[in-house]
């Protein structure tokens, strides 16, 4: 590239741009577009005999007529939205505290404390929850020791536990954009809000949240996508009852060797996440461009 641009010709500059963009374009093409095109093609065929396929919507029809698939799909969406909202509700005050109230060293320490759990893998973190929550786990033993319960308590394998795990896993991805957007809010705007007669509630509603909206939107999008596509946490903490849509996809591909159906499910998940993100952006009057500012 340097050789090309040092010639000073217009072609050289164009070549530089192309070369710089190549890794990105290759990544998009090979890892995103090609697999999705293939996924789409695979999802739109039906196996009629050994190595004989024909074009059909059968896989999609099967999804809509089988209540289990359909219910899992809706349940995954609703749980993901709930997890996103909970993460926002917990993450916002945390971020506000880090960005606006803490000063100097304390700020960095708190931010690091949010980050440190993510140094270990998601698998290890989830096992951490299992050690705490299982029947023979720390909390159950403690309750028995304290005499609060008579027998072991099983706290795994229910929706609340899944939710706890999902929120915990997502927290960092909400806190980081929120801290950065709140950091950019001038303190004097908040002070002006109070000076003109606002209270904590109205200042937050009228000044802090409108300013933080791009950060809220980007945090929510990331958390929602990660939650919707999460496999590990719902599976480990929710057990067989978790009914997460990614598990359905996994089952179709790996257990049933039904790539056609798995591909269709994969595509439906893509449609679902795009649709919900779009609705969310419309409702919050944000654009995708705002969220990456």
């Amino acid at each position: 590239m340097t050789a090309a641009s040092s010639t000073g010709q217009g072609n050289g500059v164009r070549l530089g741009v192309v070369l710089l963009a190549t890794p990105l374009l290759l990544w998009l093409l090979v890892l995103v577009i090609l697999p999705h095109v293939d996924l789409l093609l695979v999802s739109l065929r039906e196996r009629i005999a050994f190595r004989q396929y024909e074009f059909s919507f059968a896989n999609y029809i099967a999804f809509f007529v089988e209540p289990l698939y359909w219910n899992t799909y809706v349940r995954t969406a609703v749980m993901s939205i709930m997890a996103t909202v909970l993460t926002l509700i917990i993450g916002f005050p945390v971020s506000y505290y880090i960005a606006k109230i803490m000063r100097g060293r304390g700020k960095n320490v708190l931010f690091m404390m949010c980050l440190i759990p993510f140094w270990v893998s998601e698998l290890v973190r989830t096992f951490g929850w299992m050690i705490l929550l299982r029947e023979s786990g720390v909390i159950s033993s403690f309750l028995q020791w304290a005499g609060l319960v008579d027998g072991p308590v099983e706290m795994l394998y229910n929706d609340v536990t899944i939710m706890v795990g999902l929120v915990y896993t997502s927290m960092l991805f909400m806190v980081v954009p929120l801290v950065s957007v709140l950091d950019s809010l001038d303190d004097s705007l908040i002070e002006a809000g109070y000076d003109l007669g606002g209270n904590a509630f109205t200042v937050t509603r009228d000044i802090v949240i409108p300013h933080a909206m791009p950060g809220i939107a980007s945090g929510c999008i990331v958390v929602f996508m990660l939650t919707l596509g999460n496999y590990l946490t719902p599976n480990l903490l929710g057990g067989k009852d978790s009914l997460w849509f990614t598990e359905q996809i996994y089952t179709q591909f790996i257990t049933r060797f039904n790539w056609e159906s798995g591909s269709a499910f994969g595509f439906l998940l893509l449609v679902l996440s795009s649709l919900i993100v779009w609705i969310g952006l419309k409702l919050s009057r944000q654009t995708l461009a705002d969220t990456v500012r």
Binding site: D186, S188, L189, E191, A192, G193, Y194, D195, L196, G197, G198, N199, T202, D206, I207, P210, H211
Partner: protein, 379 residues
């Protein structure tokens, strides 16, 4: 009695850990006046203002607004409003919503809000700017909206935290006049803090000069300029020629000051009666107090006149504010002298030798030696 004053501070102090930001400041501001607090950055003036607004609580002392103590009253319940240094207009709202913000918080009904917002925008000269976004406004317009946003609430006192600092020079000059006019028209008490002496002198009825957490002097701009009470005020307000010396012999009405670098300057005895002989002093003479004359026309010997000769080093032509830098022949001191505006010295050149003269009453001496590094702000 107390309600003559819109704002009163009694021995207000503020410490941050062991650092004293504001040290035992007392002030009273009469209703409807324009009061400035002038000081170098870090002198505690912003801390004082933030205590008046309620963002910080004083460590000691009491603050009274319209005769009532406001200690412990949060900023949103105080009858004062603040124009912030960077104005702090809400970018997420349009101009009308910015101005209406305070009224909405008070729960005023919509029709009244609309009427008052329109009135206030008209008063600051921007009647049609209501639907505009903040980003569409120019610097001077933002300034006026920030003031309008406070004025619409009819505060007892309006606090202004160097709001002209961000503007360019030309607009700043213009806004100075406009702000003074606006204050005169609406009659609200303004408390204005600045490090720019020209802003303070031009606009204010009263100026407090603040240094290291304390008020050095409070008075009218003329008072501060012509009768500075401390060396700091003399050096910070306006330009001065400065020397160091010791108090020498008294002859009649005049006392001789022996300069450290040689030479003698006469000062009024009456004005410096408190200075004992042998006291170290700082000497200040305003550049415009010094009369200059051609060396061929020898000055008449007037009793009490200081008379020197010097060589012109530089002519700093700046229209009406022109001055010359002169090196005094006998002692080698650098001096700055204002040129008369008549144009009589328009042909003065570097290297010319001229006579300098000023009367002893124009010499000001202050005991003690000022720490270096504090110089008067440029106007």
């Amino acid at each position: 009695m107390a309600d003559q004053f819109d704002l009163e501070c009694r021995n207000v102090g503020k410490n941050f850990d062991r650092f004293v930001a504001v040290d035992n400041v007392s002030l009273t501001i009469p209703k409807g006046s324009f009061f400035s607090i002038l000081g170098p950055s870090g002198c505690g003036k912003t801390t004082l203002l933030r205590m008046l607004a309620g963002f910080q609580e004083p460590t000691s002392g009491d603050i009274l607004i319209k005769g009532k103590s406001v200690l412990g009253v949060p900023p949103n319940r105080r009858p004062v409003n603040m124009v912030f240094q960077h104005l702090a207009l809400f970018p997420m709202m349009n101009v009308a919503d910015n101005v209406a913000y305070g009224l909405r918080r008070r729960g005023v009904d919509k029709a009244t809000i609309n009427r008052k917002v329109a009135e206030t925008l008209a008063r600051v000269g921007l009647p049609d700017s209501g639907p505009k976004q903040i980003s569409q406004l120019s610097g001077g317009q933002k300034q006026r909206i920030a003031i309008a946003r406070c004025l619409v609430l009819e505060p007892a006192v309006l606090l202004l935290d160097e709001p002209l600092g961000a503007l360019d020079l030309k607009l700043r000059e213009h806004m100075k006049v406009e702000l003074k006019q606006l204050q005169h028209e609406i009659g609200t008490t303004f408390v204005y803090i600045t490090h720019d002496q020209s802003e303070a002198l031009v606009m204010s009825d009263q100026v407090a000069v603040m240094n290291a957490g304390k008020f050095e002097q409070v008075g009218t701009p003329q008072d501060l300029y012509y009768n500075p009470q401390t060396a700091f005020v003399a050096s910070f307000v306006g330009e001065s020629n400065r020397w160091r010396g010791t108090v020498g012999e008294t002859t009649g009405d005049y006392v001789a000051i022996n300069l450290d670098k040689g030479g003698v300057i006469l000062a009024d005895k009456a004005a410096h009666a408190s200075l004992p002989t042998g006291q170290d002093v700082e000497i200040f003479v305003r550049p415009e107090a010094i009369a200059i004359g051609r060396s061929d026309a020898a000055p008449d010997p007037v009793p009490g006149n200081n008379s020197l000769t010097g060589t012109v080093e530089n002519v700093l032509f700046n229209g009406a504010a022109s001055s010359v830098q002169i090196r005094e022949t006998a002692t080698g001191h650098e001096m700055s002298v204002a040129l008369p505006q008549t144009g009589a010295f328009a042909n003065l050149r570097a290297g010319d030798v001229i006579n300098l003269a000023w009367h002893a009453s124009q010499t000001r001496c202050f005991a003690g030696v000022l720490p270096s590094g504090i110089e008067g702000g440029q106007s």
